[in-house]
């Protein structure tokens, strides 16, 4: 592990943050009355699209993983299809989890689903980019001593912090402050976004500070 690797990680993460910032400002040029709170669903879609696009581009450009041995066209196509299916499945899975956590079942279905989409974007999409549609690898990354590179370490940190952010976002909902962002699911989506951004910022720093202790077994 070299310092250049950490620097690359930092830059890619900054690009991801930049894409979120762009998703806030670019639509104001094209759309009237755009704001995060009032046209929240639009923002969710745009943010999700931006983050996904940036992640894909970064994956193709940076290539953190050594490419797989077989790279025939059909293999690539099935891989891409699989990724799409995994993404959709994770959206539905998260939606179900939200409902089990107390989200309304029938009202606000679209809002809940888009929250599931944005959270999937922050968690599943980077996983798919880095690890591919390979559940075994996912499970390995999210267990103690399971990471094998700084990229996976960063992925671990951002994913967990996105989930924690979304979880913390639920806490302001019952408070009686009467703010527009306390409405379901705005506080949760904002929480997830903040968690994602915090994970992106903190993971290179954390890795840098702990670079002496971190030894990856097979990289």
């Amino acid at each position: 592990m070299k310092d250049t690797d950490i620097k690359r990680l930092l830059y890619t993460n900054l690009l991801c943050i930049f894409s979120i910032v762009l998703s806030i400002f670019i639509p104001t040029i094209f759309l009237d009355n755009f704001s995060i709170l009032e046209t929240h669903l639009t923002w969710l879609c745009i943010c999700s699209a931006f983050v996904t696009a940036v992640n894909l581009v970064l994956y193709l450009v940076v290539k953190p993983n050594v490419s797989s041995r077989r790279s025939s066209l059909s293999h690539k196509v099935t891989r891409a299809l699989k990724c799409c299916i995994y993404f959709l499945l994770s959206c539905f899975f998260l939606h179900i989890i939200f409902v089990l956590y107390g989200a309304p079942l029938i009202e606000l279905v679209l809002e809940t689903f888009l929250f599931a989409v944005i959270l999937s974007t922050f968690t599943t999409v980077p996983c798919l980019c880095l690890l591919g549609p390979n559940l075994k690898a996912w499970l390995r990354v999210f267990s103690r001593n399971g990471v094998t590179s700084i990229w996976e370490n960063s992925l671990q940190i951002t994913t967990i912090s996105s989930f924690i952010g979304a979880w913390l976002g639920a806490f302001p909902i019952p408070l009686d402050w009467e703010r527009p962002w306390q409405v379901w699911p705005i506080s949760c989506t904002l929480g997830a976004t903040f968690g994602y951004v915090a994970g992106l910022v903190s993971s290179p720093l954390w890795i840098y500070w702990n670079r002496k202790q971190l030894t990856y077994k097979s990289s």
Binding site: L100, Y101, G102, K136, L139, R140, S143, R144, F171, P174
Partner: protein, 974 residues
């Protein structure tokens, strides 16, 4: 061996004594806190009297020298007071004539009191309808106190509703008695306790049976008209309960309510026809009711009651306003007193309804206005006198505001004296005087409300500190208990000695000082005295060798969850939202457990990973289940939690929320088919409960021996389920039973619940006598050969003895352990060692849980059985999940994990809400007191209190009671 046995027994006893001491600490803390928190008010025993005017100066205008005149000349010589319990304002509100083209809304409770509407339209100068604003708590006894004393009954009374005491304050009934008026009462027997011996003739009927709609009302009707015609009365009070009971049983939207209100309408109509010219008719509701027919809180529907006044002679100078006026309920007290020529009760803080003192004719506006001001002035004088006396007796009232009020009053009285001197004064000064007096009266009311809603901060802080110290003690003790041997002296002997010393000291001081010994303070002093030396010892030994970390063995995230839960109690928004927040935290804990299992590598991945990644930390390998298995358990738990959340009752603070209709008893359902379907579902839940428990017990091999507890589980439980189902059938359909079977039905509804409770109690006794622990050993004992230990008595004295004993014990333990392993192997791969120790405890726990569940189920509405079923499913899943994370190789005493305790506590709170409870007085399920006692309890109060308490804390009892059989086991060294 003997010494060992002795020490075990000693240890058991001292552990139990220690638990008793901890309980005492908690109760002392709670008692101290509540004595400061539940509001109380000083009750003055001063009486108003005719001879003694309320203030200096002449009695007003025209009141001297007339017969029957006291502070004012009496306007009516007789009154008929009809109290209709829970007569909400809109029940009596006149319905506008229908707009053509718009269909009239047919709601069972609207527009049923047609007689009031007719009289208001036909005789506008004779009658008036008010919306009377009730002070909380809206419970009948508090309202009766307010309606007779004109004061504000406080919080603490809400708790003493079952044991009401005679009113010591001055009140209307007392004044009537001392004026020699004859009072005839009929109706609610709460009056008997409040005014013992005050009535010249009385017909009391039990108010306690809220399921009985007709007994009280029919009893009143039997006596009402004969009494009325006999003319042997000056004041006639009839307190009808049918409307209130109908609300409790069916809710206001039930057709039964329409019938009941129509009956009341007929009563009023009859009374109107029989009234004579010197008689005033008052029809009043003591409080309102919510959408569900309950009352006790302070929601808008509960605090608006109807008040209707009618006199055969013209009474009001003007026609009624379009929208009835809003007046405080206590206004009735001074008004009635002055109208009847009585002194206003001493402690009254109500304000007279001035328009009743105009003389009924608008020919002399000046004179009528002066009469109104006089009434108001007397009222103000009386309130001023009361404030003066009260402020002298206590330091409750705010000095500054009191001073302002006194200034206001002296200014008003000066202008009143001036007005009397010069009675040709202009209208404007009359108006300003009226406004001033009204301002004074309202200010006085406000200051009283404010001061009687003040808490004793010292006691609350003391109680909270005591509770915190007791919690800290528990935390420390739970750490000490892990080490072998119970520290008898520091944990039991010293504290108890200190506590007793302090208590005796306090009692001695109190007696010598001549003051009364307050039991609450005595208990608190003893508790504080006993815990202080313990805390001191901890403090002293702190720095030397004990770091802070082992004190909190809680895993970080679980500790965070507990802290969040603790913090939510400081936010009223979260207190209101607790019903939603608790399942959220529970779900978080569950998913954390699953994720943690995965993170620590204690789960097998769907397809195997390389072992080297996981192996470093746990070489022998903890029990490993497949990842999807743990995930399934977690999702199942979340699903059950979510489904239980469908049963919710809304807090009063969120008006937009809709309570679940499934929490009401089946008897309140109108449709026959839906009722039958629901009944089927409830019985289905019962059967499922039984089947699940039996399957569980059978699966872990605990149903095979002929021991009594096992036989009981096999045969007693189905019997209990049968009894419960039969009782539900009777309770939900009792009204539809043919008359011939009535006696049988009522007999069965007494016997069945008692039989079920009896069975459950005997089952629990059996379980405590032989916890199922033993059975497991019996079941497993067959498969192993047991080496006979040579008996050895007395303490080991020599090295040779030790050489003999130690290997024996070691061998015994080895065999024990081998036996366990064999047993777990024979139970198939899923349970690999997960329940080797766990099932011994969990079997007893599950049995206790089901035994407790049946009696508690009976106390709830039928459909809550589905919630109980969900609770059981949740606890099964939770046990599995926790067992998946417990490693086999744990040695030493059986340790209950923090995760488990936290999850159980959250589960208990969640079930508290999903069984239809709310932490407010008005949400208490009073009807639970009638299960097994449909006729009420007579004068005993502890049994209904026990039943209602069991209903309220059902989930907590289940949680704590399930630990009951393991308690003796825990006291033993393993």
């Amino acid at each position: 061996m003997k010494a060992f046995l002795f020490s075990t027994r000693m240890q058991k006893v001292s552990v139990l004594l220690f638990l008793g001491w901890v309980c005492f600490l908690f109760y002392a803390g709670i008692a101290l806190f509540t004595s400061g928190f539940l509001l109380t008010r000083l009750e003055l025993t001063n009486q108003s009297s005719c001879q003694e005017p309320p203030g200096p100066g002449s009695l007003p205008w025209g009141s001297q020298g007339k017969s029957g005149a006291c502070w004012m000349p009496s306007r009516f010589s007789r009154v008929v007071l009809v109290l209709i319990d829970a007569l909400r304002f809109d029940f009596a509100q006149p319905q506008r004539s229908h707009v053509p083209g718009e269909r009239p809304v047919s709601v069972p409770f609207l527009g049923k009191l047609g007689s009031l509407q007719r009289i208001l339209e036909n005789k506008p100068h004779h009658a008036r309808l008010y919306r009377s604003q009730v002070d909380p708590p809206t419970t009948t006894m508090q309202r009766l106190k307010a309606l007779t004393t004109g004061s504000l009954p406080t919080f603490i009374d809400a708790g003493s509703n079952f044991a009401s005491h005679a009113i010591v304050e001055d009140n209307l009934i007392k004044q009537l008695n001392s004026a020699g008026r004859r009072i005839v009462f009929m109706g609610d027997d709460t009056w008997k306790d409040l005014f013992p011996g005050a009535f010249s003739q009385a017909f009391f009927f039990s108010s306690f049976n809220v399921r009985d709609l007709h007994t009280v009302d029919n009893g009143i009707l039997e006596h009402l008209y004969p009494t009325m015609d006999s003319r042997a009365w000056d004041v006639l009070i009839a307190h009808f309960l049918g409307v209130d009971h109908c609300g409790h049983k069916h809710g206001p939207h039930h057709p039964e309510m329409a019938k009941k209100l129509s009956q009341m309408d007929q009563v009023i109509q009859e009374l109107l026809e029989r009234l004579e010219n010197d008689t005033l008719l008052v029809v009043a509701g003591d409080h309102g009711m919510t959408m569900n027919g309950d009352h006790g809180g302070d929601s808008e529907l509960e605090v608006s009651a109807a008040l209707f006044l009618y006199s055969p002679t013209p009474l009001f100078p003007t026609v009624p306003p379009e929208e009835p006026e809003v007046i405080p309920q206590v206004s009735l007290v001074p008004t009635l007193a002055l109208l009847l020529g009585l002194p206003i009760p001493f402690g009254n803080i109500g304000e007279v309804i001035t328009e009743l003192f105009s003389g009924g004719n608008d020919s002399h506006p000046q004179a009528s206005a002066l009469a109104q001001v006089s009434a108001l002035y007397i009222n103000a004088q009386q309130v001023s006198r009361f404030l003066h006396t009260y402020a002298a007796a206590t330091q409750d009232l705010q000095v500054k505001e009191l001073h302002q009020l006194q200034q206001l009053f002296s200014k008003a009285s000066a202008s009143y004296e001036q007005l009397l001197q010069d009675s040709q004064e202009a209208e404007t000064s009359l108006k300003t005087l009226t406004a001033e007096l009204q301002r004074f009266l309202r200010g006085a009311r406000a200051i009283c409300i404010e001061s009687w809603a003040r808490f004793s901060l010292v006691r609350m802080a003391g109680g909270a500190a005591l509770l915190a110290a007791a919690c800290f003690l528990c935390l420390l003790a739970s750490q000490l208990a892990v080490s072998p041997g119970f520290p008898f002296r520091p944990l039991l002997l010293v504290p108890v000695a200190w506590g007793l010393t302090w208590a005796v000291l306090y009692a001695g001081l109190a007696v010598t000082a001549g003051s009364k010994v307050d039991t609450v303070v005595l208990g608190a002093v003893a508790a504080a005295g006993s815990i202080l030396p313990f805390l001191w010892k901890v403090w002293v030994s702190w720095g030397s060798n004990r770091p802070l970390v082992p004190l909190l063995p809680v895993p970080g995230p679980v500790l965070l969850l507990l802290l969040i839960r603790w913090a939510t109690f400081f936010s009223d928004s979260f207190v209101v939202a607790e019903a939603r927040a608790t399942p959220f935290l529970l779900g978080s804990l569950i998913l954390f457990l699953v994720a943690h299992l995965h993170w620590e590598g204690q789960l097998l991945p769907p397809k195997l990973l390389t072992v080297s990644r996981l192996g470093s930390s746990a070489p022998t390998g903890p029990p490993r289940h497949s990842g999807t298995y743990a995930l399934r358990l977690g999702i199942g738990l979340l699903l059950c939690t979510r489904l239980a959340g469908l049963f919710h009752r809304c807090p009063e603070e969120t008006p937009a929320c809709h309570s679940s209709p499934w929490l009401s008893p089946l008897a309140s359902m109108v449709g026959g088919r839906a009722k039958n379907l629901w009944y089927g579902a409830c019985v289905g839940a019962l059967v499922t409960l039984l089947v699940v428990v039996r399957l569980w017990l059978r699966r872990y091999g605990n149903l095979k021996s002929p021991e009594p507890p096992v036989l009981f589980v096999r045969w007693g439980l189905p019997l209990m389920a049968l009894g419960t189902a039969a009782y539900w059938a009777l309770a939900s359909g009792a009204d539809e039973a043919p008359p011939r079977l009535r006696a049988l039905v009522s007999g069965a509804s007494v016997v069945l619940p008692r039989a079920v409770v009896g069975l459950a109690a005997s089952g629990l006794v059996l379980l405590l006598w032989r916890p199922v622990t033993v059975l497991v050993k019996v079941g497993a004992g067959a498969s192993r050969t047991r080496t006979i230990l040579t008996p050895f008595s007395g303490p080991p004295t020599s090295q040779a003895d030790l050489d003999y004993v130690v290997p024996q014990i070691y061998r015994h333990m080895q065999e024990e352990f081998q036996g366990r392993l064999e047993r777990t192997k024979s139970q198939g791969p899923v349970t690999v060692a997960a329940y080797q120790l766990g099932s011994v405890y969990s079997t007893a726990m599950v049995t206790a849980l089901i035994l407790l569940a049946f009696p508690l189920l009976l106390l709830h509405a039928e459909r809550v059985s589905l919630v109980f079923l969900l609770l059981f499913l949740q606890s099964f899943l939770l046990l599995h999940l926790l067992a998946a994370g417990t490693s086999v190789t744990t040695t030493g005493p059986f340790i209950v994990l923090w995760q488990a305790v936290s999850a159980w506590a959250l589960l208990a709170t969640q079930t508290f809400y999903s069984t239809g409870h709310q932490p407010v007085f008005s949400a208490i399920h009073w009807h639970a007191a009638f299960v097994g006692f449909p006729e009420g309890h007579g004068s005993s109060t502890w049994l209904p209190a026990l039943l209602v308490g069991a209903n309220t804390f059902a989930s907590h009892i289940l949680f704590a009671g399930s630990r009951l059989p393991t308690a003796p086991a825990l006291a033993l060294p393993v």
